[in-house]
Amino acid sequence: MAMAALRREGRRFAPLISPQPITAAVRSSLIQQEQAPLGVRSISTQIIRNRMKSVKNIQKITKAMKMVAASKLRAIQTRAENSRGLWQPFTALLGDTPSVDVKKNVIVTISSDKGLCGGINSTSVKTSKGLFKLTSGPDKETKYVVVGEKAKAQFVRDSKKHIDISITGLQKNPLNYTQVSVLADDILKNVEYDALRIVFNKFRSVISFIPTTATVLSPEIVEREAESGGQLGDLDSYEIEGGETKSEVLQNLTEFQFSCVLFNAVLENACSEQGARMSAMDSSSRNAGEVLDRLTLTYNRTRQASITTELIEIISGASALEG
């Protein structure tokens, strides 16, 4: 009771003592020392309160984003896991040939269109640049095909002249095979390649993804490798049914392989993206919580200090009158 009365009193006196709202002591970094008037008595907590409000809002937003990512992840994870069978027959038949030495390499980098998802896009970009280094050389040509807005932004900075095609807005609709095969067809029509290297992040768990590269060879290279008895030496022992010639079937086969591998790659990458976004948003809402804690502490301490100051003023004023 007495405290409340005193505080009311203090508030009545406060304008007399300091006609302008004074903010210094705590936030001396925000306001320069010279601007604070002389005789600082009470401290405004307005700035801290505003800051607390904005941190709280940020926390709300990041929490909501995490929830959205979690629900999207659930939907896309089952689809990605179901599509994992799709590329395996091709790898069993044509093998896995990341070390194949060919003239025209095309690196297909898969990334996301939206940010705030941790390091998955820069991982794809770094891996692609490593592959570029690995495949480039005299009388060789390496080009990028970039899927997704974020990797494009990173490539434009230093490898703009090597970008052949960039495709964005793939994830506006839920991913399906038809859409991806149209995309694959587009890529195949517009680039000349001996080997396509698809770089994506394979989903492992909500908190981890694995940078992966899948290699798809052109029909001519498949035939060459099979005849020379390299890594694809087994292919010659297969009888080929259908089509007019062997090369025609091989062309159909490699194009189908590319669309299948690409389909799995975009799904895995979308899944990793949601997982990474979920964990990024989780840690940022936790961070916001910690910041809020610290701010609350400072706020309460300042408030307490100003109340104490006012009390002392009133008491000493009263005792001066009495004396």
Partner: protein, 203 residues
């Protein structure tokens, strides 16, 4: 200071519950094999980044060709959205290759076959499962493994006879009225698929 202690204590419990709902993916084998040439070349050129993984390290290794013919055929039948059959052991499959229906038994010669719209049947003991597949590829390996990849496939008993008849009539009509090459080709595909469906249902 300790105001959020209860929350902090509760957090690990929640996250472990989440981990249980979302298990780690299952297709990663314990031992990872990769292309050693590639990994060495990568380490030489890009020493500060780990080499990316390649698909083969996520795959169960296939067994070598056995000396005697096994009694069963191991079939993988995959679609973009599902694995219909995963390493299932069956007696025989009949696939609709472009060159004609093809029966595959264990010990079949290694073959790559393109598929056309038609019925694929899987024989397992006395049971027969029939699927209508749209198109795709089939690989038959020397070690009695068969991989069938189709863009779309449905069990035959999910197909409605009356809708097939309607579709067939519609596309036949479209084929006769088509003016451009594209329209003609589209109508032709429609007619082919529907007549294959019709044949599968009636025959």
């Amino acid at each position: 200071m300790f105001r959020r202690a209860t929350g902090l204590l509760a957090r690990p419990i929640i996250s472990s519950a989440r981990a249980r709902i979302r298990p780690f993916s299952t297709d990663l084998p314990a031992t990872e094999t990769g292309d050693t040439n590639f990994i060495e070349a990568w380490k030489k050129l890009v020493p500060n980044i780990d080499p990316p993984k390649t698909p083969i390290s996520f795959m169960q290794p296939r067994p070598a060709t056995p000396s005697s013919i096994p009694t069963k055929l191991t079939v993988n039948f995959v679609l973009p959205y599902a694995s219909e059959l995963a390493s299932k052991e069956v007696d025989m499959i009949i696939i609709p290759a472009t060159t004609g229906q093809m029966g595959v038994l264990p010990g079949h010669v290694a073959t790559i076959a393109e598929l056309k719209p038609g019925v694929m049947s899987v024989h397992e003991g006395n049971d027969t499962t029939k699927y209508f597949v749209s198109s795709g590829f089939a690989f038959i390996h020397a070690n009695s493994f068969a991989d069938v990849i189709a863009v779309e496939a449905v069990p035959l008993d999910h197909i409605d006879q009356s809708l097939v008849q309607k579709g067939l009539a519609e596309f036949t009509q479209k084929l006769s009225s088509a003016s451009t090459d594209l329209e003609k080709a589209e109508a032709q595909i429609g007619v082919d698929v529907h007549s294959a469906l019709n044949a599968a249902l009636t025959g």
